[in-house]
């Protein structure tokens, strides 16, 4: 009883329920949805698709979680994705041998470099100049796409390059490479933030920057670092997205992804006011949103009603998850079965 109680009281209970309901709806519509088949040694099927598709949003949301934990926000992630794709693909396209590993490696390397610079720039504006994050990153949200278009000349750059294509559509050990990449970075960050003191220092800066500075925490460096990390993850996400369609679409790569990422972070229980963050929560949030998007197609929601459908799901999840409703539900449960509260003296 109390196990069930504490389960339903968990922050992530309703998001997970939402995930379950969406998957169930998909299965009811398309019975084979959850089936996983092995084909050419690779795994295929709805769940694998969802995993692979989550990778981009997961990476972006990963960086966003850290930024949000410091009370910040990064609107430029979409533009960074576009730049990453543009830099990498224009290099591959310009080379004589687009299929060579070295070319792809150097293209990816330079994309990462450019994006790190962008992160440094964002971090500088926020932590040193002291511009409010939403505006500081709005600069690159606007200009960044312009830069990406400048690189591609406004065209959609298309290439054929097997190694590059592997990033998004390849398989390793039967699993999609994209999901493995995202999973790797997710685990790495989860370990780094919890096994080192980075996590708690980030939270400390997010909760009370003044007190943290006085406590000797390098508040400025930490804030700066999270923007660089965020840009880096957005870069990887951008490369995956680009490799997915093998084309650098400066206009549309990562368009509005910042909203989805923020939504995922919040559904995962991290407050936009900064402070305590949960990467596992973010993962759940990402899965909910990806599944939601996926289910739109599976369920055959008419194009005109997609937005409404999404809004209703989001509102429902947020309402159920809200402290007030959780409290109400708990109170009701307590009324029916009053349990004595043990208090240590």
């Amino acid at each position: 009883m109390s196990a069930v109680g504490s389960l339903t009281r968990h922050r992530l209970f309703w998001p997970v329920v939402a995930l379950g309901v969406l998957l169930l709806a998909c299965v009811l519509k398309s019975h084979t949805f959850l089936d996983i088949a092995v084909r050419d040694g690779h795994l295929y099927g709805g769940p694998i698709d969802i995993l692979r598709r989550s990778s981009v949003l997961l990476l972006v949301a990963l960086g966003m979680t850290l930024v949000i934990a410091t009370r910040g926000i990064d609107l430029s992630v979409g533009a960074v994705m576009a730049i990453a794709g543009a830099v990498a693909l224009s290099q591959i396209a310009a080379s004589d041998n687009p299929g060579s590993l070295a070319v792809v490696g150097s293209a990816v390397g330079s994309a990462v470099l450019v994006c790190l610079l962008i992160g440094v720039f964002n971090g500088f504006l926020v932590s040193v100049v002291g511009i409010q994050p939403i505006i500081a990153t709005l600069v690159l949200m606007t200009a960044g796409r312009g830069i990406a278009m400048l690189i591609t000349g406004g065209q959609i750059t298309t290439v054929t390059s097997a190694p590059f294509k592997t990033i998004a559509t390849g398989y390793w050990l039967g699993l999609p490479v994209a999901a493995l990449i995202a999973g790797f970075f997710f685990l790495a960050m989860a370990l780094i933030t919890r096994r080192t003191a980075l996590g708690v220092l980030i939270e400390s800066v997010g909760i009370n920057p003044v007190a943290s500075r006085l406590a000797g925490v390098r508040a400025r460096t930490i804030v700066w670092t999270v923007y660089v990390l965020c840009a880096f993850f957005a870069c990887v996400a951008g490369l995956i997205r680009t490799s997915d369609i093998m084309a650098a679409d400066a206009n549309n790569a990562g368009l509005f992804i910042e909203l989805d990422a923020i939504l995922a972070v919040v559904i995962g229980g991290t407050s936009l006011a900064g402070g305590k963050f949960s990467l596992v929560g973010t993962l759940v949030g990402v899965l909910v949103i990806t599944t939601l998007t996926f289910s739109v197609t599976i369920l055959g929601i008419p194009a005109n009603a997609v937005s409404l459908f999404k809004a209703l799901v989001v509102i429902l999840v947020c309402l159920l998850q809200s402290p007030v409703v959780r409290h109400k539900l708990r109170a009701r449960r307590r009324q029916t079965a009053p349990a004595p509260v043990e208090v240590p003296a």
């Binding site: 003191a197 939270e203 000797g216 208090v343």
Partner: protein
């Protein structure tokens, strides 16, 4: 005046219980408040005083129990309703809006209006009048954040006077006031009492409690110990009732001899400030602090003590002079540079500059250590358990649960957590800005003893306190500040009295 009990209490709370996750903050507490009395609510840090007040004014909803105001059972939905019923409250932490002006803070919700439009001239005039009753001559248009905590506390009290209240609740209103302001406040309180207002007063200063209250209620660990007439309860008994045992440390300390500083004449000072100053905050000053010595800073409100300490810590940039640590010139660019040289600073405003509210007690305590080490090398769980347990024990932090959220602790306990953070870094020089603010008698004595012991073990301490007695009791040397300038420095000895220091402050060092 009202010892012959007035017939009906204006507030009766009975059987009040409140539980927070993991803590039973109040357990069946009864409380009565009569018109025309000053009623002191006493108890250790975390005893539940603030919680009881918040239960009365509707900030917290009670789990059980009833609240009767004026013969009517009431459940207030929030402070607004309580105010409507004539209960005006000054909560423990200064709860004002520091983005607004002083006048606005005082008059918010009570602005003088004409046809719904606020008449600012008259509103400001009214605010100025209220400030005058507190003897505060500041520009009502000035921004609240430009004033020191003490002034803010006075502003908060002025605000409580705006409402024509029948019940006035003051939760530790005097924690950062000095003697003059306290006297002034008590004049106001007495005149209100004589007009029949019921006043609930919380303070850890026993002198003040005995000076002003008619009756007191003592809480311990969330339970009611009893209700007493002030005149009938001796201090020793009171302390015993509050902490449940006799208090020896206090006496011990009183007897500690004031150590002579002559013996360290041959050694170099640990820290030396030469012509250190910052435009607009403190004029250039010289100050030496030796290992094993407590240097007290004395001065009135806003005399620049905090500013001085912040410069030494690198929290603000000095624009003149230099600092030498163990003889080597050092630039204090950030708190980190101070920290790495063993200098730590415990801020006076723990809410905004001290405690990281949503982190746990454990995380708050090891934060200083961790920051010094850098992010990569996390302090092991074992090490942190060790440190945290030691300080929870040593300072009597309650609840003794390292995983409690620090922001939920009572004010005094937060202060202890902050102290623990700095002591854990084993500093060479400890800058303490009002470390005993809002701390109960027992703990205060513990902290004073701790400071004395640390100095005896060779730590250098700069000690700032609004309580001159405390400064005198602990310091070897006292630097006197006035109007953001260091005006005198004296060596403490048994013949130095508070009057001497007050005189020095008043004369600006010209005696």
């Amino acid at each position: 005046m009202t010892d012959t009990a007035t017939p009906a209490p204006i507030v009766t709370m009975s059987g009040i219980s409140i539980t927070f996750p993991g803590v039973k903050a109040l357990d069946g507490v009864d409380f009565r408040l009569f018109p025309g009395e000053v009623h002191a609510l006493m108890g250790e840090n975390g005893a539940g005083k603030s919680t009881l007040i918040k239960a009365l004014t509707g900030v917290y909803s009670v789990d059980s129990g009833s609240i009767v105001v004026d013969g009517q059972e009431r459940t207030f939905a929030g402070p607004a309703q309580a105010q409507g019923a004539g209960i005006s409250t000054v909560y423990q932490e200064v709860n004002l809006c520091d983005n607004l002006s002083v006048a606005e803070n005082i008059m918010l919700g009570h602005e003088v209006r004409r046809a719904g439009i606020v008449d600012w001239r008259r509103t400001r005039a009214a605010a100025r009048d209220h400030l005058r009753t507190m003897n505060l001559d500041i520009d009502p248009k000035s921004s609240l954040s430009s004033h020191s905590l003490a002034v803010q506390q006075l502003v908060a009290i002025s605000r409580a006077m705006v409402v024509d209240a029948r019940v006035l609740i003051l939760d530790e209103p005097t924690s950062s006031l000095d003697a003059d302001e306290v006297a002034r406040l008590f004049d106001v309180v007495r005149s209100l009492r004589d007009r029949g207002v019921a006043i609930l007063f919380v303070s850890h200063f026993l002198d003040q409690v005995y000076a002003i209250s008619d009756r007191m209620t003592v809480l311990r660990n969330g339970t009611l110990v009893g209700e007493y007439r002030t005149a009938e309860l001796s201090r020793v008994d009171l302390v015993q009732k509050m902490i449940g045992r006799a208090l020896e440390v206090l006496e011990q300390l009183e007897e500690a001899p004031k150590r002579s500083v002559a013996e360290r004449a041959d050694t170099a000072p640990y820290l030396q400030a030469i012509g250190l100053g910052r435009k607009g905050s403190i004029e250039p000053f010289d100050l030496d602090v030796y290992a094993g010595e407590v240097v007290g800073l004395a001065g009135l409100l806003g005399s620049g003590r905090t500013e001085l300490a912040r410069l030494l810590y690198g929290a603000d940039h000095a624009d003149a002079g230099e600092i030498r640590v163990e003889g080597t010139p050092t630039r204090m660019r950030t708190p980190r540079s101070a920290l790495s040289r063993g200098i730590v600073y415990s801020s006076e405003s723990r809410k905004t500059e001290g405690i990281v509210g949503d982190l746990t007690v454990r995380e708050n305590i090891v934060l200083g250590l961790q920051a010094d080490r850098g992010w990569l090398r996390r302090i092991s769980r074992r090490r942190s358990d060790e440190v945290v347990d030691r300080y929870i024990e040593a300072l009597g932090i309650r609840p003794a649960n390292p995983d409690a959220i620090a922001g939920n602790l009572s004010g005094g306990n937060q202060q202890k957590v902050l102290l623990a953070r700095w002591l854990a870094t084993a500093p060479k020089l400890l800058l303490l800005d009002e470390p005993t603010r809002g701390i109960d008698v027992g703990a205060k004595a513990e902290i004073q003893k701790l400071v004395a012991d640390l100095a005896a073990q060779g730590m250098a301490v700069v000690f700032i306190s609004a309580e001159l007695e405390e400064v005198l009791r602990l310091s070897h040397r006292i630097a006197v500040l006035r109007d953001r300038r260091k005006v005198a420095e004296i060596v403490n000895s048994d013949d130095v009295t508070t009057d001497d220091v007050v005189h020095l402050i008043a004369s600006g060092g010209q005696s």
